[in-house]
Symmetry: C2
Subunit: 311 residues, 2 copies
Amino acid sequence: MAYRKLHHAVLLGIAALMATGAGAADKKAEKELPPKPSVGDVLKGSTPGDWRPLDPDNTLYMELPGGRVVIELAPDFAPNHVRNIKALAREHYYDGLAIIRSQDNFVVQWGDPHEDDEQVRKVKSAQKTLPAEFTVPLANDRHFVRMRDIDGFAPQIGHSGGFPVGRDPKAGRTWLAHCYSMVGVARGNESDSGGGTSLYVVTGQAPRQLDRNITVVGRVVSGMPLLSTLPRGPAPMGFYEQPGQQLPIGAVKVAADVPEAARSRLEVMRTDSATYQSVLEAQRNRGGPWTKYTPNYLDLCNAQIPVREQK
Amino acid sequence: MAYRKLHHAVLLGIAALMATGAGAADKKAEKELPPKPSVGDVLKGSTPGDWRPLDPDNTLYMELPGGRVVIELAPDFAPNHVRNIKALAREHYYDGLAIIRSQDNFVVQWGDPHEDDEQVRKVKSAQKTLPAEFTVPLANDRHFVRMRDIDGFAPQIGHSGGFPVGRDPKAGRTWLAHCYSMVGVARGNESDSGGGTSLYVVTGQAPRQLDRNITVVGRVVSGMPLLSTLPRGPAPMGFYEQPGQQLPIGAVKVAADVPEAARSRLEVMRTDSATYQSVLEAQRNRGGPWTKYTPNYLDLCNAQIPVREQK
């Protein structure tokens, strides 16, 4: 009973942190502002056609002790790396490897802890390294819808196929942006020194300086807390120092290889839908009584890409 | 022995994620680029005058089961709230309260779990609520140094006294920006409904839409992982549902009230120093063999404000 009351009180309290409301200067702060649809309102009003299921052929399941991380792959933006990562998963390359790094406000990385000793995991049919796919031809972002918001890292920004995208029409190139939950391919100094045997996910403020420097292959659409809450590693750059600190990876599987009954039934909002544009606008200019000032601006990496259980 | 080798290998591997190197188009990727000073190089070259110790009168220690969180307060930007939060600490208001919320990629919040029941913690000499200090007069950012980088949320951005700042010269106002590790005052719908009894820290992508909507009072300069790795709460917006899920706060103290021998001996780089400008430039345009493309741009909330143990 007390908890009910507490819960109510607390939810009230944190309206403070949801920032929904339409614009007004500080001086007008106490003037009640006209309500606007919130992201929640827009989602409630969405139709089945606004959503698409994940494609099992381009979805990875990383099974961790705490549960499943679901990664949507982006073959349009890294065709060769996506193919190779699926081949690595299918030869069970990742099974039994580990999370080797967690750096606060940056990334969590996984791969072979024995990459440099005699117990190194051998790559079989897949490739150890591949030519870089840091950017791809503009034609690859077939579903690009531009955001009007300015961006310091790219001439144009927006979304394509459910991913945050930067693009440079003059150079004729497009690429996936390093936003929270995006997954990339670790490499050494040479552009072609990675291939997917070690991957990382962004767990902090978007390190957009990595854009066009690393092949980005997809996005974690479910299970981020399994990675973002991992203890930070004590060694430089968040590496774990002892095997005991490393979280073991049970298996990484292509969803299509998992019996249907055991698959995660998730769907993602179509980022080329009118409803998604309303989601963006609901974040750019918030409605309701709480907000006293609205920026009429949305940062690419603050744009929520809605994911839900399939209905 | 194997660990030594492993550690070496791994550090090599993650040069990939440090993105240090000067600009080049993808096509020139394999051309070796001229080295540039990294942030580490700049720090090595810094002089004692580039650093300042934390002011014990404006530093809070939040003692958690896992260790100490050190918060630098910003009296220039929220004079009344900083005074009130210190008064709350000195009447032991926070002692024995709890972390009540952890929402992935957003915030961790603490306060009174009983705020709405008969066990509510009473405020004594301090105030329960205060008029908002969402922004302050331009004159308050006495140490402002502007960044040249564009920003979608503020006409001008930069740093003042060790904090990331947005400002609007036309409106004559300045404010602290909601970057990772910044601490703000939770409130209800009314601007003056907060006072510091419940505070939050940013643990994800900078929610800059909160700028000018909440009174921001300072920054966590040490101990972020104690907050950022907390299990995410199962209730809406990351609230914990049961007291057992809430992390207890041992005590919150003003550093000046702690015996000198028990104080954290930290110093922060002066953000109005020439050396700090070199830190920013080292992030805007990285040097070394790894980077193939450099944006010549730095996001306000990716700008590192160096903190170190006092020498």
